[in-house]
Subunit: 196 residues, 2 copies
């Protein structure tokens, strides 16, 4: 059974996978990952049924290491809707560079592999929940901009915060992460917070 194998090798593979994704990009093969982990290629298949499953597991593993939940839920303590939204964006900007390499690999795989696509959707559901909570807090305080439904605001904030937009601003346009963070907050403020 795959679940009963030792834990050491599994973690070695997951960390090697994450490392290779950072160093080399999304097109690393199973053989390279195995080699980086110091195990045989078949050992990888003893722990993960296929490449998509390995990438998903690596994403979860990296999430744990980066304290994703903790960071993203810190904004819950904000005193009002506006500061909560801004704190959420701050946390996201701090987080996204860490998860980007793995996220990119999952996104690439999503194009061809249905199971990877489903895994990505699951992963992003958490982010959407955070957006929902931030918009709800804003609406409750009466600071959500007029003429915008709750759902539309959530979708748009979610879009604005997408990994693809981080990629576009930081990788394609060459912005620093700080500039990305500030622009994210500026646009979100202008687009979602009622003036005055």
């Amino acid at each position: 059974m795959a679940g009963s194998v030792a834990r050491g090798t599994r973690e070695k593979i997951l960390e090697a996978c994450r490392r290779k994704l950072e160093e080399q990009g999304a097109d690393v093969g199973m053989g390279e990952i195995a080699k980086a982990a110091g195990v045989s290629r078949q050992a990888v298949y003893l722990h993960f049924a296929n490449r998509a499953e390995l990438l998903v597991a690596t994403a979860r593993h990296a999430d744990m290491a980066a304290n994703v939940d903790e960071l993203l839920s810190a904004s819950r303590g904000a005193p009002d809707g506006v500061s909560r939204l801004l704190a959420y964006l701050d946390a996201w900007a701090q987080l996204v560079p860490q998860i980007y390499p793995v996220a990119r690999a999952l996104l690439a795989m999503k194009e061809t592999d249905a199971s990877a696509g489903a895994a990505w959707t699951d992963r992003m559901a958490a982010q959407r929940h955070g957006c929902q909570a931030a918009i709800d807090a804003l609406e409750k305080d009466g600071h959500l901009v007029a003429g915008l439904s709750n759902r539309a605001a959530v979708d748009s904030l979610w879009t604005l915060m997408s990994v693809r937009n981080y990629e576009h601003w930081v990788m394609d346009c060459g912005w620093t992460v700080e500039a990305y963070r500030d622009e994210l907050k500026r646009i979100a403020s202008a687009a979602f917070i009622k003036a005055g």
Copy 2:
């Protein structure tokens, strides 16, 4: 080629490629495309050195068919910076559903193939130019929002208008193209146009 009544093989391949990308998504193979065009797989390689080159040529071909340049340059006739920006976004929203299937294939290929990435960058340079012109017009009229450099505004508008954001709003969130267009204009207005 003069006097030939039938469409050239090259065009048959390009149109078959575009059709298959629309029907089947970004993971169509060379054999399938050849079959759809009614030619042998090798005939494709006589016209296009590799898959990346075929996709790039298909993108250009689809651009021609969709009158991309004409549509996107229509906003140049706008009387002021604000209406020019909005007209540009209108044109883009009208255009992007047409180019999306091919764009998606190019984007997918960009992840692994360097030449496809370069081709995509070239393709997107035109869009960036349009953003630059729109922001310039806005700035010239004194309607560019305060505290934002010209370059930052161009990059952000460019990011906002990315194919990925269209994908996220329309495919992932299920918005109509009209809702996408209106939200694009709303956010751009809030983020780039000086109030008052």
